[in-house]
Subunit: 440 residues, 4 copies
């Protein structure tokens, strides 16, 4: 009996984490084969990761066959799980997503605002191709996507690819649960947060420990800045008491872009002037990480990895594979079709929701209405996401314009055209769908 995992984007600096996750769960998730796949530009990194992964398996003494390759189609044969963690255009593209909007006076961020839109434009077509391969070559495999913007990518795949076994994951709900557990001095496994919303726009409504409502304690900690669950890559600016007391919701770290826009913009402009973009910082971090990975004595995931923003991402993915494989029917927070869970959103909108995980996929637990205080913001983000997905596929200039206008961080009819034009031009290598001359 075989159980094969294919990691697309296997040369990512996060891969040691997924390796560790699989090794640690091997008694219940008996993976027999892992293939790491990457593209030609990533070959060198792939080799380094491949060798480290090999050492990790050896040290753990698990009967897992490991290989790495540039041949995606070959790799997919007989796969049971396919994780996708790619970055189309690499950190160079990210650097543009951050720098160009900033130079036009807008937030420049990897998954929010203009940067996030362009990342979607580059990424969605590539993942649609991968999903088509999966559907043809290993139609029973579950795709677990942690490529950002994970919510939009997942919705694009579920709506527009023939492969329907797709689940999106993110480490934000995981982080929020773990940080909250810490504040409450509780075991994270006993903490349940009632999440509501979208990827990178999710709120916590209630926090339960063993079923007991402890939301108020958490809100108090948040207002007093005792609780900070921002990942390494997002500096928390804190939340005012009035905000916390008025909403009675746990924001996620990305909400600062929307509710503290001026401060974040000022901070980012300053950081850019001092250190360049976050992409450039990360490039340095990655260089250092790969140097560590390349050390032939290293046989485990190095703790330096946790300093990257996406820590625990892979842990989330491994838990999910485990529950699917073992039909655990436990509850995890993933990105999937709403299917009625949130009353105010269409059934085929992808939401980030608590789901029962079965080997027939995640089934959202019903939530009811959106909280009135953030209903408008969530509805707007979803409508925005739909425009991005459509434009990603059609490459239509006017739809791209609509997506920019619909984004609450842009929404400036006189400044969109120069910003959009510069971004399309800067990324044109990765945007073949936009190649046709834009209409007037």
């Amino acid at each position: 009996m075989s159980l094969k995992v294919v990691v697309i984007g296997g040369g990512s600096s996060y891969t040691p984490e997924i390796m560790e996750g699989i090794i640690r769960r091997h008694h219940q998730l008996p993976v027999t084969e892992i293939v790491l796949v990457d593209v030609e530009d990533g070959q060198e990194k792939l080799e380094i990761i491949g060798r480290l992964a090999e050492r990790m398996i050896e040290k753990a003494q698990k009967p897992i066959k490991l290989s790495w390759t540039l041949d995606r189609k070959k790799a997919l044969e007989n796969a049971d799980f396919v994780s996708t963690q790619i970055r189309v255009g690499g950190l160079e593209a990210r650097e543009k997503d951050e720098r160009i909007p900033l130079s036009h006076g807008f937030i420049g961020q990897e998954t929010n605002g203009a940067g996030g839109i362009l990342k979607a434009f580059r990424t969605i077509p590539v993942l649609l191709e991968i999903a088509q391969d999966v559907h043809r070559i290993c139609p029973n495999a579950w795709m677990i996507n942690f490529t950002n913007p994970a919510g939009m990518v997942t919705e694009a795949l579920l709506k527009h690819s023939p492969h329907k076994k797709v689940i999106g994951v993110c480490n934000i709900p995981y982080n929020m649960r773990h940080s909250t557990a810490e504040i409450l001095d509780a075991d994270p496994d006993q903490v349940r947060i009632d999440f509501v919303g979208l990827n990178h726009f999710v709120f916590g409504q209630k926090v339960y420990v063993n079923g007991h409502d402890r939301t108020n304690e958490v809100l108090t900690s948040l207002a007093s800045e005792d609780l900070n669950y921002s990942p390494a890559n997002i500096v928390s600016l804190g939340w005012t008491k009035e905000f916390v007391n008025s909403l009675k919701l746990l924001p996620n770290p990305y909400h600062q872009y929307y509710y503290q826009t001026k401060e974040v913009l000022a901070k980012d402009v300053k950081a850019f002037q001092e250190n360049g973009t976050r992409a450039q910082v990360v490039q340095e971090l990655e260089k250092a990480l790969f140097a560590i990975y390349d050390n032939p004595d290293l046989q485990v995931k190095p703790k330096e990895l946790e300093e990257r923003g996406g820590a625990f991402y892979s842990d989330v993915a491994c838990s999910l594979m485990d529950s699917i494989y073992n039909n655990k029917e436990d509850i995890q927070t993933v990105n999937t079709f709403n299917n009625g869970a949130i009353e105010d959103l269409p059934n085929d909108a992808v939401v980030e929701a608590n789901c029962v995980i079965t080997n027939n996929g995640p089934k959202p637990v019903t939530i009811g209405s959106l909280p009135a205080a953030v209903k408008g913001d969530i509805l707007q983000m979803k409508a925005f996401e739909e425009l991005v997905i459509t434009a990603s596929i059609t490459g239509d200039y006017h739809q791209a314009y609509q997506a920019f206008l619909a984004n609450p961080l842009i929404k400036d009819e006189k400044r969109i055209q120069p910003l959009l034009d510069e971004l399309l031009e800067a990324h044109k290598e990765y945007l073949p769908q936009f190649a046709k001359k834009r209409g007037s």
Copy 2:
């Protein structure tokens, strides 16, 4: 630490089952006190049941304080769980619900057709009163209702009583799961049926064993009559191959009233002529059961109880209390607000659905659309139920007429008035809300 269960309708012949359920689960559901409550007419039965329950606890050597009383308000003090299993008007009223419709040429049944409507008319106001008491006296208690018609009663309470911690249970999904497990030679705990629909009008969409889809095997067994999960009180007439193959759904035993109306009516008329109504048969059964219960040597639930139709009802209730108490987050099939689980029904329609059971109540797992083949029937039943609930509360003759007209087993504008009038007259003792002279 105390854990108190109050059984309203404690003199019911089913009570030994709930006693056994509590005793058996005592290590995880450490009940400290049970009070059996009944009305004056049921005092004699209550005594018999009370003494049997006492012997059961003694034999099991559990530290449970037991008492029985006619004082409902007193009993409710500090209750944690309140189970309701009452029969307003007793078996005499049931006898009328069965006989009178039959004499007008209609199905006469306890929870379906005209009989079910009248049972709702008698029962809903009484349960609303009980719910008000619960809300005032023990507002944190969960009401677990297994009084029929359980779906309508639960919707009436959730919509019209101040107490919102109400869950409706039925043994039909339990029976279907267990019978299916038997046919598949599987452990019932590993069988999951995707149920969709309403109480006594629920269908099984998919049958999984450990997450593997085995629906087709079950359908084949059903079409070949190898599978029969009818409870003792419903004689199965079998289902045609064409029906099973066309719907690809598991009907529940009560569906025979709707899809085999002529056969059931003919059979019931014949049975009535030979043995009187089912109520009369049950009266004999109950007499025999109580004779057994009254035997001072009996210290356990006697197996004769299983021959009554509602076997396992109480087992279902005990499982539910266990999962709420322990915040198990497991999946059980109960009656609660739809809340988006079924796309085609309003959020505040009570459905019989697979729910995650937490100590904050049941949360339905999303289902999506109704199966096209039975969508119309389910929508009609729900619309009918809404009319019954309204008429139960207002006592409005025209609304009662509407409910009769909307019922697929009646729907006969020229025959409703005499049938309705005779039923209202026959039951008038228990229908104070209908006392005001009906309008023309």
Copy 3:
């Protein structure tokens, strides 16, 4: 400037009515050309009608070019309006739709029950073909369908044909408005009925004369049988006072099949034994009508035509053409997509609703919720219609079975298979889509 009307099914006995309607409105609807189209089997009738139409135009001295042909595609060139009034299989097929269900103990009727389903099965594929021709040959033409079952046919076309300029019409709302006007001694143009529901399952909610609510007077007349708006082909059985007072709605004549099923069945069995089917009666009527039409001295629509059931059908169609052509923005009752008008039905369900008629088509006026008393029945009919439409197109036996089961006049799992099999066999000449061997 040309204005061309094509009448598909031009050999129908109703055509003189549409001719008269066009001639009468010529000052505001200046039709320049009419082509009558029929199939080979109807050639003889087409000739007779064609010659009569010619005499009518001549007598009226209107500059309308008239022709008749079997070449549908040729006829459609440059058409502005295409009316469709066909009968696939002719009255012979209708005779089977009436006789066969009756012989199995079910209502046998042209547009309701098993007969209506088979009529849909025969008709929908042919109209889809016509709509494809229209879309290719005269894409700007409005199709005005009065082929029954008009609601289902219209929904099938709007959902499954490329041509979206399709409107369904029926004379029932027209009749109800005119009969009501008579009872109220009012000008029909000043009477507005708030209709709600589906074709042949529509109810009147409110009756206004010049905006003044006179519903109660109308209901009183209905209950006292002073008001009878049944068309010639449906014998009214009257409605009980309790029914009228409880619903406070105006039923349409076809509702007798659903609410007076036993009486109608008994009456129809008796009528069949005495006179054969309605189809056979109509065959005689038609023979007599065509003898009249063939009289070279006849130059107008003969009043004998009004004795046929469908009187005013064509008048409805001509009013509609007039309002579209002149962008009148008046309100007419037609069959079109719900588009939100009725809250409880999906947007793409075809309803019979009051619409603002513009030259961009009909736009339903919002209605709100279905009346509670008939909500379940209307939802069930719509779910049933969806099954019929699907089965009409796929020719899938199991879907046909589902449609039969979902029909409130059938819904009998043990009797469907023999009934369905006999009907499919009897009509097989006109049901190529069902030719493939049915699955087990």
Copy 4:
């Protein structure tokens, strides 16, 4: 036969317009009595207007009885129409709504952003009182509200007052239709715009002249700035070609606040520094107007009135009264419950929509889905409006905070508290509901 119109806020400078509208339509809308009502602070203006109105009636020689009073309850007796055009706190309050937000760096405008919210806070409770009076004293009267923010006020009344005969009107759709007619050289009565959205956030989707689609011509004019339908009080900044070509929608003048925020803010800051607030400008204008009104030789509406922003407002109201009175069933654009017209909004959301006007009120014509490009913005505005309405009634500080956060012109968690606190303090005289100490 009497027909009485009561004008609440009769001392408004707009009243001569409504007088003229009534006089002009007197042959079809035979008003017999007009009462102008105002509050004590407005007595002087009321006198001036009253005398002018008297002279206008005299000059026109219409048999209309006119009076003016401070006794609202008396005035309402036997009213058929009640128009409401009040300004709680007068222009002094408006001045604060404009100045204070500006001083915090936000748009300061009468019906948008923080100013619009405070205007709602002051206005909604007063109009709820008026509606209660209307409901008690003249329950059959139609209230025609043109008090801003008209959409929110109308929703508050329809949802929270016992009086349900309430319609909201605005001159924006009227202006857009008339300006468009001019550009197209068409009679305004033959121009129909398919509007979609909310008051002050409405878009034109299609422009038809006599049913012929001329949208593209209008969009071209708009992009080339030939078309400018901004009212006198809003300086148009023009729309970029890319905006117009991408959306293919007609924005309304108020959209500049949302899509040209930076430019508008800069312009308003500059204007404020040069001329003070718009309120101050209007105060001067009003002073001048009333001087003109007070001239005993003036017997008609002076043309200087058109230079005020709200021109045609009253014309809209008179048209509406005419169509209601005469049950015209014509189409007008008013604010009323959505009732299904727009798929994406709840039935009880007030929208600005094309409605059939009957003497039973306006019935929206179905629209379907919101245009994707602005779906998110419209949904957000509606969610925001709901928060404002709730906070207006409860006076809850946290809900007020939520409303500020949800407004796209504010949405800045760190700056809301000082802004909100200053505004609540400045307006406290008119905000009794907020008097209770705000929670922490």
